[in-house]
Symmetry: C2
Subunit: 505 residues, 2 copies
Amino acid sequence: MSDTDPPVFDRLCAFLRETAILESTLSMLGWDERTGMPPEAAGYRGEQMTYLAGLIHSRRTDPQLGEWLDELTDSTLDAEPHSLTSTVIRESKRQFDRQQKLPSSLVKEITRTAVQGQHDWQRAREQNDFSIFLPNLEHMVRLKCQEADAVGFTECRYDALLDEYEPWATTAETAAILGKLREDLVSLLGEITSRSPLIADECLKRSFDIEKQKKFGNEVAAAIGFDFQRGRLDTTIHPFCTEIGPDDTRITTRYDEHFLPTALFGILHEAGHGIYEQGLQKEWYGLPPGQTISLGIHESQSRIWENQIGRSRAFWKYFYPRAQQLFASSLAEVSLDDFYAAVNTATPSLIRVEADEVTYNLHILIRFELEQLLVDQQLRVADLPDAWNEKYESYLGMRPQNPAEGVLQDIHWSGGAIGYFPTYALGNLYSAQFFAQCKKDIPDLDKRIANGDFAPFRTWLQENIHQWGQRYSAGELVERVTGEPLAHHFLIDYLRGKMSEIYNL
Amino acid sequence: MSDTDPPVFDRLCAFLRETAILESTLSMLGWDERTGMPPEAAGYRGEQMTYLAGLIHSRRTDPQLGEWLDELTDSTLDAEPHSLTSTVIRESKRQFDRQQKLPSSLVKEITRTAVQGQHDWQRAREQNDFSIFLPNLEHMVRLKCQEADAVGFTECRYDALLDEYEPWATTAETAAILGKLREDLVSLLGEITSRSPLIADECLKRSFDIEKQKKFGNEVAAAIGFDFQRGRLDTTIHPFCTEIGPDDTRITTRYDEHFLPTALFGILHEAGHGIYEQGLQKEWYGLPPGQTISLGIHESQSRIWENQIGRSRAFWKYFYPRAQQLFASSLAEVSLDDFYAAVNTATPSLIRVEADEVTYNLHILIRFELEQLLVDQQLRVADLPDAWNEKYESYLGMRPQNPAEGVLQDIHWSGGAIGYFPTYALGNLYSAQFFAQCKKDIPDLDKRIANGDFAPFRTWLQENIHQWGQRYSAGELVERVTGEPLAHHFLIDYLRGKMSEIYNL
C-alpha cells in the first residue's frame, strides 16, 4: 500500500458501491421480467440474471474484501458500535463471513435445486400431488441443513437459516414470542368465531372497474407519501417491491375486478415497503447504513401502512368518500361503518395470502414450527402434508382437503427459502409495537390521518426507523424506539381492541 | 493450453457471448431510462450505465481476446470467407482492432466531451445560440480527428469515422453515389415544386385520439409481423429500437394527437428495425453471424417498411378502411386516393426528422458534405452555421432563419456521432434496391400487400437479409441479393414513379 492509495475504509466502500451497481442492475432485470418482459424472452433473461448473480457472488466472496475487513476489524472498528463506520464494517463482515463459509459447490447445488424446485412445485400444485414435489423438497431440506452446518450456529440449525433473513435474531427468542402470540391469537379467534352472524364483506366482492382501481391506488399511494418522482407502480402477477437505485423504488400490484382489497391493500402494503426504501439515506446507498435491516423490519413497514393505517377508521374517514365516488355503483349504499367492518373481517381460512390480520400469523406459525421440525430432522418431508393438516385443524379449526389448499400453497420452500416465514410474523409484531409508540409520540395521529395528513406519521417512521439503515439490529431498534424489547402484547392489544369493537366481543 | 481445454474458437465464442450478456443488460437499462424510469433516477442510472460500459469496454479490449484472434487468424480462418467461423473471426478482429487502436485516454475524453456536448447542445438549442455549443463542438471535431488518426485510414480521415457505423464502406464510393443521388433529387424536387397546387396533407393534421392511435399502431405492427411474443411497443420521446436479448426486441414511438403520421410511420419504421433484429439467427446471438451488418442496412429495413410498404397504395387499400373506422370523425370523408396522396406529399422543409421521402436525403447530404469538410479541416466549426444555411438554400431552396431550425436541430454531433448521417441515405438506397429485386422475385407482391398478406415480403427479407447476420458486408449483400452493386437509380426510379403519379409530372 503506497501513501497515495486511499485509506482501506474508502476502498472497501468503493468496492461495495460497485457491487451495489451490479445488484441494482440485477433488480432492474428482475423487475422487467415480472412486469413487462415479452413472454419468449424468459430464457435469455435467465442467462442474464445468472451471469450477473455470478459476478455479484464473486465480488461478495472476493478475498480482497476479507483482507480489508480483517484489517479494519483489527484497527478501525469504532468505539461507538452504531457509528456509520462501525456499521459498514460490522454488517459487511457479517455478510462476508456467511458467504465465505458456504462452499461454492453447495451454493450452486442450492441454486440448481431451487430452479428445479420451482418447476416441480408448480407442476405438483397444478396436479394437486405432493409426491411430485417431494423428492426435490427432501433434497432441498438436506441442502439447507448442510448450509446451516457450514454457516455454523450456537443453539440450533434453524438459527443459521433464520439469520439469513433476520440477522441477529435467534430461534429460541423468536419461538418464545411467537408461541405466546399463538396462544393469544387462538383464544381471540375463538371468541370471534363464536359470535354470529359474522360481519359481511360481500360489499368488497362487487364489481370494481380496474382502471378506476388503478386511479384510486395511485392516488392513495401518492397521498400516503410514496414518491412517484423516485418510483413507479406497475401491474404484475405476484406483487413485490424492488429498488433499482437510491432514487428508483418500484412497487407492483395485481387487480381483481371482483375483490377490491387485493389491489387496494396490496398497494398500501407495497407502498409501505417502498416508503422504507425511499426513506433510507441516499448518500449511503449500497452500504449498510443505507440498507434495510431485515425482512422483519421491512415487513413491519408494509404492514403498518396496510393494517394499522390502511384498515383504520381514520383512514377511511378520509378516503371512503373518494372510494364511493369512484365505485358508486358498488359502494354508494354502503355506509362507512359497514365498509370499515368489511375490511376488518376476521375468518379462519386455509390460504395464507388471503388471510386477515387476526388469522394471518397463525398461518405463519404453522410454517415456522414445521420448518424447525424439518431441519431438526424430527419430521420427515414425506410426513409434512399430514403434519400441516394437523396444525391447521388445531390452530384454525379447518383441515385442507388437498395439497393445493394445504402444503403446496406457498412458493417459498421450493426456492430454498427456509427461515423466511417467521419474518412475516415478526413484521406484524414490530409494526404493532412501533405503532403503539407512534400514537404516544403523536397524540393527534388519528385526527391527522382522518384529515389525510400522512406526513407526521411518515416522518416519524423516517426519523425513527428508515434513516438508521443497519446501524441498529432489528431488536436494538425496537428497544431504542419503544423503550422495551419486542413483546407480543402490542399486537394482541391492537387486534383485541379493533375486534372487540367490530365483533362486539 | 491443456488437452482438456475447449478449442480456441469455442473459448472466443463463449467470451463474446458473455460480453453480449453485459451489452444486452446495458440495453435494458437504456430502454428503461427512455421509457419509464422515474425522473429522479437519472443520476444513478448514469452510474449504472457507465459502470457496465466500462466492463464491456475492458472485455472488448482484453488482450486475451487479441491473442485468440491472432491464433485463429493464423490457423483457423476458413477458406470460405462467408462461413460462420470466418465471419466470427473476421468481424471480431475488425472490432477488436479498432478498439485496440484507440488510446483509453481518448475514449474517456470523447465520452466526457459527449456528455458535456449533449448538455451544451440542448442549452444552445433552447437559447437558439450556436456560440454556446461552439467550443464543445470544436473540441469534439478535434477529438474525432484524433480518433480517425489513431484508427488509421487509406484515403481520408472520414473513412475511419464512417467505418464505425458502416463497416467496409469508403468515403469515396459513398460520396460518389450520394453525389449522383443529390443531382437527381434536386432535379426531381424542382419538377415537383413547379407544380401547383400542392397536394394537401391537411387531413393528417386533424384530431386523432391517442388511445386509438395506439390501438391502430399495435394492430399494424402485429399485422406486418413484428412478434409481440418476442418484443414490445412503448411510448417515448425520441423513438428507438433496441434489443435486450435474442427474443426481446423493443420498439418505441411517440404520439401526436394532431398529426397521424408521427406515430403511424414511426411505428412502421421502428417495427422494420425490430423485424430485422427478430429475423437474426438466435443461436448466434451476441456473435457476428447473429448480429446486424451496419447502420445503413438496419435503416434499409426500417425504411422499406415505412416507405416502400407503408406509403404504398396497396398497403392503404388494406388498412385504410380500418383507419377510417377508428378515426371516423377525421377520415370518414377523405377518399383513399386523397389519403394516399397526403401521406406522400413532398415539400422542401428545414427540419430533417419531418422531411418526406423525396427531400429527406438532401438533408442527409448536407450533413455528410459538411462533416467531411470539418474533419478535412476545410471548414472551421465557427463557419458551420453559414455553410449549413448556404447548402439548404442551394439544395432545398430554403434558408434557416435561426440556428434552432438550422445547424442545431440534430443531437448527433453533440454526442460525437460524426460519420453516422450518411448511413440514413445509404439505408434509403439499399431499401429501394432491395425492394426492386423483391418485386421481381414476388410478382404478385402488390396484391399480397393489398390483401394484408405480409408474410411473403417478410420472409423474403428474412431469407435474403436477416438470416445472414454479418456474413456479408453491406456492399456484398446488396450485390448478392440484387445481382449488382449499390446504385442510386433504384431510389430515383421508385420516387419518380410515385411522384409522377401523385403530382402528375
